[in-house]
Point group: none
Chain length 233, copies 2
């Protein structure tokens, strides 16, 4: 955040965009606008905004889905703006990864205050690095590229999800249940054997000696753990 904080507004209704543009314009913020989910995701990935204001009622996609997609690689604060104020909607959005939820119509002052809260969090969190580096292994969570000693390795979708989940909590143990939930999503229960197979595949792709894994160790009876991320500067 070298200059003014950058705010990404994803909203399809032009009047609302005008309104927010005017409200934010009076403050030292730079504004980025998108009127579709697709464009919003592209801007989020390309410009690394400091806060995202997301309207749930987009025509070309589910806002909850967008939230989870962004959360796969970024911790940028997301403030949801929605016309629907039911408890279920709020809970679903917050659990999908949103940081706040405002019901339309909202007051500008409150929105600005909540944006300030979000920015405060962002600076306190520091710079969430988009890449996890552990020894020779490097996982770029934004571009989905995994390299070992600089050479790119190809991972299948589930392999990547598994590795990314471990990377996001590098240094900590993830139980079998947590991993299954991260990769397959909550409801499945009998995937614990598939887990071992995929882990084996991953190890053959990233470990120097797959029989003696150093990067991803197994905690018998509990789960797996990726070695702690290398210390940054």
């Amino acid at each position: 955040m070298a200059t003014e904080p950058l705010i990404l507004l994803i909203e399809d209704e032009a009047p609302m965009r005008r309104f927010l543009r005017a409200a934010l314009g009076a403050h030292p913020y730079r504004l980025l606008e998108a009127d579709t989910m697709r464009a919003g995701l592209a801007l989020a990935a390309g410009h690394a905004p400091d806060v995202i204001l997301l309207d749930l009622g987009l025509p070309d996609g589910d806002g909850l889905d967008a939230t989870s997609r962004i959360r796969e690689w970024s911790t940028t604060p997301i403030i949801v703006l929605s016309a629907r104020g039911l408890e279920g909607d709020k809970v679903a959005a917050l659990d999908a990864g949103a940081d706040d939820y405002l019901t339309k119509p909202f007051s500008v002052g409150e929105l600005l205050a909540r944006i300030r809260v979000a920015l405060r969090h962002a600076t306190a969190t520091g710079k969430p690095d988009p890449a996890v580096v552990v020894g020779p292994l490097r996982i770029d969570l934004t571009s989905r590229i995994v390299t070992v000693n600089g050479v790119e390795v190809h991972l299948t979708p589930t392999e990547y999800k598994l590795l990314a989940a471990l990377a996001r909590f590098s240094g900590r143990v993830l139980t079998h249940r947590q991993l299954v939930k991260e990769v397959w999503g909550g409801h499945t229960t009998t995937a614990t054997q598939a887990l071992r197979v995929h882990m084996n595949q991953i190890r053959h792709k990233i470990e120097a000696n797959p029989a003696r894994p150093l990067l991803i160790t197994t905690e018998p009876g509990v789960g797996y753990r990726m070695k702690e991320q290398d210390q940054e500067v």
Copy 2:
């Protein structure tokens, strides 16, 4: 967050406290209650809760003032609960350092979701994990890593469960029955002999002289006790 997240509730009205106690009780949270601002500040300082729920309408002090006071030394998420829903109140509270603001009456589901958001932030802040440290022994309860003199020690699942239970109550005696309940879960009763075996294994792994245990002492006829943890900084 060694075990369940600790939530501090600062609220003067007994019915509301009862209500929240019931709502939170159904979830894996530990609850701390205060009915005055003074008591709340003391508990916040003494117990380092993971989330603070703060009612603004306390009789013995201004909630905004309390928020700023806490923010002087802590970044613990503060969720304000207030009967007043005016924009000015919200902005003032959020700018004073609160992280969220809920207007009474609020739905329980939304409160719980916003608590989860707050807890998510707390873990993402990247502060070093809280650990129990007793002499050369260090037990990181979140990443599940045990070290002695800095070198990592491998523990089997039951060994770890046993050690973690003792660590959580370090300084206090845990009876055989309590330990069996912690490790095997409530119903089993004839595991008191297995207890001795596992304790023996643990001692060989963490004690300098397993025959003269210093870290985990046995209270004859009662149970075991881990030496009190070193004073934190």
